[in-house]
């Protein structure tokens, strides 16, 4: 007979649970059959999480003097906090409340009502037996370092950094490339408003560069992350620019004089050239160039030094001896905004990219349209002079395709519409859009579709089968032929054009998995970073203190990326302002009397929380470092280590409860095993 007075509360969750589980029956059963386990009251209610439901619990605690509470409802990941707070309001320690999931783990995944009802009973029995062993706990308070690290200087990262810095807190921004700006800096126009990307982006880039509270590390990468929420230690490698940024004025003469021309695969998307010493683009922030040693004549062949010779500054800004710098910073929170890679269109041979000169990728086309780009904004063929008379725009390249990426890349439809408009505007050419489905949700997007229809672009509903220069009939010679089924008329069509633009999809960064591992977060199967909750917590991750924003979380356009950047910043700011963060009191500790000093646990902790006292020959655990995984608890042969909230007693008691009834609900016949 248990000394505890336990209340059991079974939620209908509307019909979400009661649809498949006979909740009345379950709560009745708990009241009658779990009496000896201490259940004194058992109720069911339509919505336990509603204020009325919570008040029900509070009232019982007060009036019936409950000492423990079990709520059978949705996943604890959703409402554990809600019910703990309710319990707390009734002056019971919040950690004396246990939540068991009969929605995600029962009603939503099973169909047979009888069986689901029986399973719910066992799950509750488990909770009841477990809760008896709960102890009063206080949340762990960790101080939050005011500084924040933002990884990635694209639009999402820029937005996040500015939001935080503007409210007066320090920000470190780490960017891999020589300049911040990300993909957006490459674009000419932005949909649906067609305002110029540079005009709206560069002011933000400049304010990041000048901001008193932002410390910018460009051409740098995060090497290592130690510590945990509130107090991360981050190691950054600042790659050598071979340019002394203290003296360099960014005059650009070195770039002018450098004899080595290189195809720029990053900023110009391979469509244009840069020098071996270069600034990615005129408005680059910071304004300092870098020397690309793989292509620099001096670094490759030991002579040239043109940049140094012509550098006007005193002392000379070019420093061939410069080394990488390793910098260590401490921050309280981290925002990852590492963006996306463009799908490599060469992986779809039938579209001819790389073989057929006048097949371009979306990024190449963006650069082509950009007034500061390789063609000064002229839409021309690969020869650099000819204006196309007919242009095909191919949607869903590498997207919505099980051979490549199974997901929709979100931005391509609108981007393609933008391209259609730009082609019309700049060349008056015939434009053919080949699409599977037109996807133009969100404010003013479909209106933009309407606008492009008005402009007379052609829309053919059919995924392009192949793009070829193999002429089959007169009129096809010297053209690129798009072969596709026009599914709306059910006929195969061959349409000769001069130029093709492939709306290549968005992919997670090639090194996304590595980065995720470095920051202790996880990736989806497509290697996008996983948010804490797909709807309710889109910028947090399962790792406290690490947030995500922008396309690194999934394909996203500019407005969405900006919104997420701001959202992540808001989450971080609230943390910083509350100065402290309450953590789950899940920690391991050693009972010295029981510790035999066998040291089995000593090398198990990746957080170095386990210390061994040679003098007393006992092990001790530093609660500040312990993260509560419980590996040492499981390892200790003399049960000298215990873990709060996950003690052996609690787990074994729950196990016993779960095994009370068999699948059909009959009692599990068993010799009385040695349960806790």
């Amino acid at each position: 007979m248990s000394k505890e007075k336990i209340g059991v509360y079974v939620c209908h969750c509307g019909t979400n649970i009661s649809g498949t589980v006979d909740v009345e029956e379950v709560s009745k059963w708990a009241g009658e059959n779990l009496e000896k386990d201490g259940v004194v009251v058992s109720r069911d209610y339509k919505f336990m999480c509603s204020s009325l439901g919570q008040e029900l619990i509070e009232a019982d605690i007060k009036e019936q003097g409950l000492t423990r509470v079990v709520v059978a409802a949705c996943s604890p990941h959703l409402h554990e906090q809600t019910f703990r707070t309710a319990v707390k309001r009734a002056d019971l320690n919040p950690y004396l409340c246990e939540m068991v999931s009969i929605r995600e783990q029962v009603s939503w995944v099973h169909t047979d009502k009888k069986i689901a009802t029986e399973k719910s009973k066992s799950v509750i029995a488990g909770g009841v037996k477990r809760v008896a062993f709960h102890e009063e706990l206080e949340p762990l308070q960790v101080p939050i370092n005011e500084a924040t690290l933002v990884v990635g200087g694209g639009i999402a990262g820029i937005q996040a950094a500015l939001e935080i810095a503007d409210s007066g807190f320090p920000v470190y921004m780490v960017e891999r490339e020589p300049s911040i700006g990300g993909h957006m800096a490459k674009f000419d126009k932005t949909f649906p408003t067609l305002d110029c990307a540079a005009c709206i982006l560069t002011p933000k880039m400049v304010s990041v560069g000048d901001h008193p509270h932002i410390n910018m590390y460009t051409y740098s990468e995060v090497e290592k992350v130690d510590g945990y929420v509130g107090n991360f230690t981050v190691t950054i490698r600042k790659k050598a620019r071979y340019v002394d940024t203290d003296v360099c004025t960014g005059c650009g003469i070195c770039e002018e004089k450098c004899p080595q021309k290189v195809i720029d695969d990053i900023f110009e998307a391979g469509l244009g050239y840069r020098k071996a010493v270069y600034r990615p683009f005129p408005q680059a922030v910071p304004k300092y160039p870098v020397i690309d040693t793989d292509n620099c004549i001096y670094f490759q062949r030991g002579k040239c030094k043109a940049c140094q010779i012509f550098c006007p500054t005193e002392p000379n800004s070019i420093d061939f001896e410069q080394q990488d710098e390793i910098i260590e910073i401490t921050v309280g929170n981290i925002i990852l905004a590492t963006g996306y890679d463009l799908f490599d269109a060469r992986r779809v041979p039938q579209y001819g990219y790389g073989r057929l000169a006048n097949v371009f990728t979306s990024l190449e086309f963006e650069r082509m349209c950009n007034a500061a780009g390789p063609t000064n904004g002229e839409v021309v063929l690969r020869d650099g002079v000819t204006t196309p008379e007919a242009v095909a725009i191919v949607h869903c390249v590498g997207s919505r395709d099980r051979n490549y990426n199974n997901y929709c890349s979100v931005i391509c439809c609108m981007q393609s519409l933008k391209f259609a408009h730009l082609v019309k505007e700049r060349t008056g050419a015939e434009v053919y859009n080949f699409y599977i489905d037109m996807r133009t949700p969100f404010k003013d997007y479909d209106e933009f579709y309407q606008k492009v229809l008005e402009e007379g672009a052609h829309f053919i509903r059919g995924r392009v089968a192949e793009i070829t220069d193999a002429a089959r009939m007169p009129g096809e010679e010297g053209k690129l032929i798009i072969q596709a089924e026009d599914t709306l008329i059910g006929k195969q069509r061959r349409i000769p054009v001069d130029m093709v633009v492939l709306s290549a999809g968005l992919e997670s960064r090639a090194d996304a998995k590595e980065v995720a591992h470095k920051f202790g977060i996880s990736c989806s199967t497509d290697e996008w970073f996983i948010e804490k909750h797909p709807k309710l917590d889109p910028v947090a991750t399962m790792t406290e203190g690490v947030f995500i924003a922008g396309a690194c979380q999934g394909p996203k356009d500019i407005p969405a990326s900006v919104a997420q950047g701001a959202a992540a910043a808001a989450r971080v700011l609230s943390r910083i302002q509350s100065k402290e963060l309450a953590l789950e009191p899940v920690r391991a500790s050693v009972i010295e009397e029981k510790c035999s000093g066998c040291r089995i646990c000593n090398n198990l902790c990746p957080f170095n929380a386990i210390i061994f006292h040679e003098d007393r020959m006992v092990t001790e655990i530093n609660p500040a470092l312990c993260q509560g995984c419980g590996t040492c608890v499981a390892a200790c042969p003399s049960e000298a280590i215990t873990g709060t909230q996950f003690s052996n007693e609690q787990i074994l008691a729950q196990l016993e409860g779960l095994l009370m009834l068999d699948v059909e609900g009959g009692l599990v016949s068993m010799l009385e095993p040695e349960m806790a």
Partner: protein, 157 residues
């Protein structure tokens, strides 16, 4: 006709991946047999091998252990330790004549609700095919005899 045997399976899940995978399965209404009942741990590293023995002793016909994919552990590397312990335990169970299919280790990330549901379904089928474990038969006469020759440090218990 006799009705078909319904195995009882205990699943140990990691709070950061597989428990969330179970949530995900629910959210996306992935169906799987009701024969499995889950226990949440903070990490597969917390799994004390004796939990598995007690589950089997306590009437479970099989035990499913789940954790984060190698290299994705929320606590950096603890799932490797879990894996090592697990393989040890398996060998032991083998020696005691317990079919390997009854105890299974599965990695499932928070995103893999569908995968977890599939794994559960297959395991239930496999164990159903094996029939009841009925542990006490396997072990010594006295009620806790199994404890004696399985997990020495438990004798005191």
């Amino acid at each position: 006709m006799d009705k078909k045997f319904e195995p009882l399976i205990i699943g140990f899940t990691c709070n950061w991946c597989s428990y969330r995978a179970a949530d995900m399965a629910g959210i996306s209404r992935e169906k799987y047999p009701p024969n499995v009942r889950l226990i949440r741990l903070m990490c597969s590293g917390r799994l004390d091998p004796t939990f598995i023995l007690k589950a089997l002793a306590g009437g479970a016909d099989g035990v499913l252990v789940t954790g984060c994919h190698p290299g994705e552990c929320h606590y950096l590397e603890q799932n490797f330790k879990a894996a090592r312990r697990f393989s040890l335990l398996k060998r032991m169970l083998n020696q005691m004549g317990i079919e390997p299919e009854r105890v299974k280790l599965v990695w499932a990330s928070a995103a893999e609700g569908v995968r977890l549901a599939k794994e559960i379904t297959t395991m239930v089928e496999e164990v159903r095919a094996l029939g009841p474990l009925n542990w006490p038969g396997v072990v010594a006469e006295d009620g806790n005899g199994y404890v004696a020759h399985l997990a020495p440090e438990e004798v005191s218990a």
